[in-house]
Symmetry: C2
Subunit: 220 residues, 2 copies
Amino acid sequence: MAAMWTVKVVGLGVVALSLSLELLWWLHRRLRPGKPLNEVLFFPSEIACVEHIFTPSSPSSCLCSLPHGLETSFSRLLRHILSASTSLDLCIFAFSNMDLSRAVLALLSRGITIQVLSDKDYSAITGSQIGVLRKAGICVRCDKGSVHMHHKFAVVDDRLLITGSLNWTLNAVQSNMENILVTEEPDLVRPFIKEFNRLWALNDPARYRHSNGQKLEPLR
Amino acid sequence: MAAMWTVKVVGLGVVALSLSLELLWWLHRRLRPGKPLNEVLFFPSEIACVEHIFTPSSPSSCLCSLPHGLETSFSRLLRHILSASTSLDLCIFAFSNMDLSRAVLALLSRGITIQVLSDKDYSAITGSQIGVLRKAGICVRCDKGSVHMHHKFAVVDDRLLITGSLNWTLNAVQSNMENILVTEEPDLVRPFIKEFNRLWALNDPARYRHSNGQKLEPLR
């Protein structure tokens, strides 16, 4: 009789142990946050057609002479930008790359909230896409200071940071040695969101007045 | 009698449960890697004396007119560079900042292995510190291509990545709007180490020959 009870006790102990292990494993998997995305892209990127990224529904429609179907640093960058579902905050020194401009305009047509901060000198040079974005209705602010706004970062959906040495120009993408770091790590993303908001407020045209005392019209 | 056994069974179950919980918690703490350093620095940095960073043993010895004892973005950057205990791999487009040059030379005097990759055009401009480092005995290689080596990153001890928009110039530190990202995240550090090694090998002077067919002397 006593032996039977011992077997039962041991059996129940084993059941309790296995159940609690299973419960803890489930809790561990539920509570542990998934590892955030961390990716590094180096440039110059291979030159390849990126049409399929803009029109994924008809990937074989392009007849241009560039290689097709290649996944390059540049196509990865475009994909990350186009992954936006709510917002894009872009803080960029030089912006003349037509494909990147097309990506930003594609987001605009999908109703994404876009804010662009740029350097006042470089936004005025020939080939700059800043005027194109502004004309399309995107809210653009240019740094008013005498120094350079030298950042090259974007924050997608307040979640994904894209930053590095790469200006958004054709030379940077196709010729220079450059890097882009893409991360969802909150400790890295949060400071950039905060700095973007600070610079955005700092360059609010409503804070500036013409020399004749009139308020400047808010720029688009 | 049966009631007593039930109490014992329940008691043993509770003991088994608590022991397994404790064991799992211990395993969780042992196996979970410590969170890697992630830090973001924004510039322009406040202008302050950095003498105490170079001579921490006599922090109050400096009599210059700059504010003392301030922890700024620039002092943080210097501290991260000076934290090197074995190696510094630097890949920098423009390097003219005297304090940053002093930090690299301080590492050299401590026997740290230093490799510097720079852009051939910018390393030759007035005020560049690349020649100073080379004369001091640091192994420097300059990009031979016709394009720009536009990176601005450093890897400390194959462990810590320092990267961003900031060139190592006085203007970048004290005037421009810039960012520096400091991280120990292996998924971000590893690709930069690999890219540095690739560029280092690519720009090995032994691979180049003078137009007269003689091998170039390795540059220091």
